[in-house]
Amino acid sequence: MSQYPVNPEFVAPGKLSDNERLKAESDHLRGTITSDLQNEITGGFTGDNFMLIRFHGMYQQDDRDIRAERAAQKLEPLHNVMLRARMPGGIITPTQWLAIDKFAAEHTLYGSIRLTTRQTFQFHGVLKPNIKPMHQFLNSIGIDSIATAGDVNRNVLCTSNPVESELHQQAYQWAIKISEHLLPKTRAYAEIWLDEEKVETTETEPVLGDTYLPRKFKTTVVIPPHNDVDVHANDLNFVAIAEHGKLIGFNVLVGGGLAMTFGDTSTYPRRAEELGFISLEHVLKVAEHVVTVQRDYGDRVNRKNAKTKYTIDRIGVDNFRSEVEKRVGVAFEPVRPYAFTSRGDRFGWVEGIDGKHHLTLFIENGRVLDFPGKPLKTGLAEIAKIHQGDLRMTANQNLIIAGVPLEQKAQIEQLARQYGLLDDSHSEQRKNSMACVSFPTCPLAMAEAERYLPELVTKVEGLLSKNGVADDHIVLRVTGCPNGCGRAMLAEVGLVGRAPGKYNVYLGGNKVGTRIPKLFLDNVAEAEILAQLDQLIGRWATERQAGEDFGDFVIRSGVVAEVKVSKTDFHA
């Protein structure tokens, strides 16, 4: 029950989904995880625990490449977990990096560190006996994975902007505070993974509620004009407003989200919209009550319509805003002017206003691993060994070596080049392309994404060059399923997996990520995708207006209709 008056007209009627039962019966996310850890007969989690471990930052996965092979071998799937760390703003120290580098090498099936679109890292392929030691290890270096998955507020993003170092520092501190303010209060994580004693108290979840949120919830702190965090993919966004380089408050945007379900037109990707401006003293309260309003009014009957974006479309943004205002006790001020002009990372060296130097490295697909001829993982470890600043994971899955004093610049650059981390041959196209993890680990994957992207980019580069626009690029994103991790629904060209080798192609997003693309090709294979892209790029090259981006061109020329209001336009 909510501690606030709830308008019954705004509550979705019907029988609660099974996930609601599961959360209610979970004893604040404990379930029987502990007894599953002792079960030596399966490498997986059983019953509700399969879902509950997500609230602790893990997904049960298996090596899908060998699933059929193992079934024939009378072996269960190669169950393991993926762990997603909680790293608000994505900043990690060199010491922490060296520790996770070692852990990945020694205790994961894939040996890699995966930088993700949620500005954190993931371990892939951790077997059950290693799970508890993993959490204890992370705890020992000051990292946890609480609430990085499940129906909670997940890792809070923050624009990676090392140039405006002071402003970034302030925004980053807010990302941490918001993350901590919205964390579950249950001690389940500490008890299960860190062996902390059970404390005899009546546990409550005043913010998230005893059955937590209706669905996942994503928050960002963004520093315009850079939209690297992709605000429109997130439920709640704090857009930093500064005066004279000092943060004074935020414009609040709510209801973005990219996930959808194929064949269900009640689901769609949707942009976030503005609630208004708030000053700094209200930030935590506003964050809390956007969450509690979504908690109380989000659809707990149909999980496919449970996210904030549907709540807002169902009850109306004005009602949503006034519910938040009532609970915070403050009215939003009119939105302060802001604009986004870029989204991708700025690669190479930049100097911050604090005089420190920052090197942004392009990490293809965010996969940190020693590849043949490109020992990226070893290279980063070598850098971490001498680096005195910090490392920053970006929402574009790249990495910034931040806070390098001038005298160390040359040495770090030398290491980066030696290990293939700085590679001038990467095209703009490659650096503006992105994919989710997908096969072989993600259980939701319908088609390849990460493993396919490099060769797709090479082919698209070929098309650009063939059509005489080799120096231009198109924001290209591939995601293995319609759940949105690869943020293809904010790309100029977005591929969303349908089946092995088959994708839906969406066109018409823009460079800065403020427009949802529209379906162009339905369930097609690569040959068709490339043939159509070849033709469109050819037209773009010859017909475009000065400086016109590909995504803008396809809309102006009527290749696809613009999606203005997702609810009505996306499936139209």
């Binding site: 030596e40 007969i41 399966t42 071998q73 009378k74 269960e76 190669l78 006996p129």
Partner: protein, 604 residues
């Protein structure tokens, strides 16, 4: 025959008895005569039986040849049975019995005793001979001044304690006053001809003794330990194996496993072969043609050179591929090959038994020839090699579940040595050379010393790490189909959980459905400290003890050299700790379990 023509000389009756009988019969009408004849026939039959059990004071006891066998793989059993058949064919009264079934108290009454036995592990008696062996070497063993005995040992010269148990029996029976009928023979793996010769010699020696006895009751032969149904329904045997179709050859270890274990399914359709859970399947195989080719190349022999194998004429290539042992090496080969090749190094090696054993431990025949190639004749090569012995695999299925199929769990012997890959003979044939749909010669080897309890309510504890799980898959299938209510507890172990959990999904399902009451696993290489099944047993010692006290039967299958010993030691500890017994009492407790057939092993 008419009574009038009945004379004492032609009958076992005295002259007076003949007269009395003639007097009586003359007073009877034909119906009365018929009744009397039936009465006499019936009472004679009864009398005959009682004679066999307890000889009457009047009639001299019929000389009985008791043939006992101690058998691990069934070879000694077959030799004993052959001997029984041959002797009864000569009119001897013969009793053939499993040593496990034999009542040691009868030993003092035996006059003619033959023991055929193999030796196990490091000179220990085979599982079914342990009780008798212990009795014979105990203070309870009677003096046997009347006993005439013969011992036949079966073994493998590549083992250090070749035929040790046979030697022990021989020596001990002599100590107790027994006299050898003929000298003991210690036979190597290719015992066939030698065993037949020894049997012939034995029968010839005994014939005068048994010829003096009254008419032999040849059909008194009883063969406990032989499944009568299997014998009755199928004409296929070790001598005449069934040519079966390979249905399935499925690797059941993960791609990163250091082990290659295959789940093999073979069709027995049309064979009439029946087996019970606990039995083994004998498998004949063809050698690797590449191996044959290389061997011929190294010895400079043409593939089509004719050779004589016993009385059979065939090409050397066929002899090597189909009939001779090419993978397992053994001292006799080194000896013969050393002579044929003239290799001084090998000849010196033959003289040093310890060095020879270590030399042979991981060398196949081909390795020896590779190291000492020599141009020898085809016949020399054939004569140096012994005949292929079928390999026995514990059956991993129950016919109650799989009907006309038989399943095996085969660990493929595969290793690198001396810079070359090596593959086991039978396992290599099954795993790599025999295509699905191909045919393989098989027979059923019964093993009555590894049987589920007859009572379905009895709990069972099964300890089967590695491929030792095979018979327990059969047990579980059987108990599942029979809807047996007894509890089932399985201990399994292997190196790695993710790669080596044999039949994991099946076992998970059995656990879910409740057929498996408990499943405890030990994956030795997943943890810093190696954990084996015996550690799991000890960990759950209190429950193990509880189950035993509830009458549970205990089974061990798998590696005998280490695992079975370690498990036995763990059991001893459990009985001591949980049962509050000292070491000796604990040993007795386990002995009693074994005698009661509640503690059975199928180890190799």
């Amino acid at each position: 025959m008419l009574l009038s023509s009945l004379v004492a000389q032609a009958s076992p009756l005295s002259e007076q008895q003949v007269k009395q009988l003639q007097g009586l019969v003359s007073q009877l009408n034909p119906i009365q005569q018929a009744w009397v004849s039936g009465y006499l026939a019936a009472s004679a039959q009864l009398a005959g039986q009682s004679v066999a059990v307890a000889p009457s004071a009047v009639a001299a006891p019929a000389a009985t040849l008791t043939v006992l066998y101690g058998s691990q793989t069934g070879n000694a059993k077959h030799v004993a049975q052959d001997l029984g058949k041959a002797a009864s064919g000569k009119g001897f009264t013969v009793k053939v019995q499993d040593l496990a079934e034999y009542k040691a108290a009868n030993l003092k009454n035996e006059r003619f005793l033959v023991i055929v036995t193999s030796t196990y592990g490091e000179g220990e008696p085979p599982e079914n001979a342990i009780s008798f062996y212990n009795f014979l070497f105990s203070k309870k063993a009677p003096q046997l001044p009347e006993l005439r005995y013969a011992v036949l040992g079966l073994g493998d010269t590549s083992y250090e304690f070749f035929c040790k148990t046979a030697q022990d029996f021989d020596q001990r029976l002599a100590e107790l006053g027994g006299k050898a009928i003929i000298a003991r023979a210690d036979l190597d793996v290719d015992y066939g001809t030698a065993a037949a010769n020894w049997q012939q010699q034995l029968i010839t020696t005994l014939e005068p003794e048994f010829a003096q006895a009254p008419a032999a009751t040849a059909d008194v032969i009883s063969w406990p330990g032989v499944s009568q149904t299997a014998a009755a329904e199928s004409s296929y045997s070790k001598q005449q194996p069934f040519s079966a179709e390979l249905y399935t050859n499925q690797k059941i270890t993960g791609r990163d496993s250091s082990k290659d274990v295959r789940h093999i399914e073979i069709s027995l359709a049309g064979s009439g072969l029946r087996y019970q859970p606990g039995d083994a399947l004998g498998v004949y195989f063809s050698n690797d043609p590449q191996l044959v080719k290389e061997l011929l190349l190294l010895t400079g022999i043409a593939a089509n050179t004719p050779v004589l194998l016993g009385t059979e004429r065939l090409t050397i290539s066929d002899a090597l591929t189909e009939q001779l042992e090419l993978t397992q090496s053994y001292p006799a080969f080194v000896d013969k090959y050393a002579k044929a090749s003239g290799s001084e190094v090998l000849q010196a090696l033959v003289a040093d038994k310890t060095a020879l054993r270590s030399y042979l431990s991981e060398r196949q025949i081909i390795d020896i020839v590779r190291e000492h190639p020599a141009l020898i004749s085809a016949q020399q090569l054939v004569d140096a090699l012994r005949k292929q012995q079928p390999r026995l695999y514990s059956i991993a299925s129950s016919q109650a579940e799989v009907e006309d199929e038989v399943h095996l769990t085969v660990g493929v012997v595969r290793y690198e040595a001396y810079g070359k890959p090596h593959l086991g003979g039978a396992s290599g044939f099954l795993a790599e050379r025999l295509a699905e749909g191909g045919s393989i010669k098989v027979f059923v080897e019964t093993n009555n010393n590894f049987r589920l309890p007859e009572n379905d309510d009895t709990p069972v504890i099964m300890i089967g790490p590695g491929t030792g799980i095979a018979p327990f898959r059969a047990f579980l299938q059987e108990r599942d189909v029979r809807a047996a209510s007894g509890k089932n507890w399985l201990f399994f172990g292997n190196p790695h959980f993710t790669q080596d959990f044999l039949y994991q999904v099946e076992l998970q399902n059995y656990l879910k459905q409740g057929l498996l009451t408990r499943l405890d696993v030990a994956f030795s290489r997943d943890t810093a400290e190696k954990v084996y099944v015996q550690h799991k047993l000890l960990k759950h010692g209190a429950e193990v003890w509880q189950w035993l006290e509830q009458g549970a039967h205990l089974y061990i299958c798998g590696d005998g050299a280490r695992m079975a010993k370690d498990v036995h030691q763990a059991l001893l500890t459990i009985v001591q700790q949980q049962g509050g017994k000292d070491e000796k009492a604990a040993q007795q407790y386990l002995d009693q379990l074994r005698i009661a057939k509640r503690y059975q092993k199928d180890v190799y």
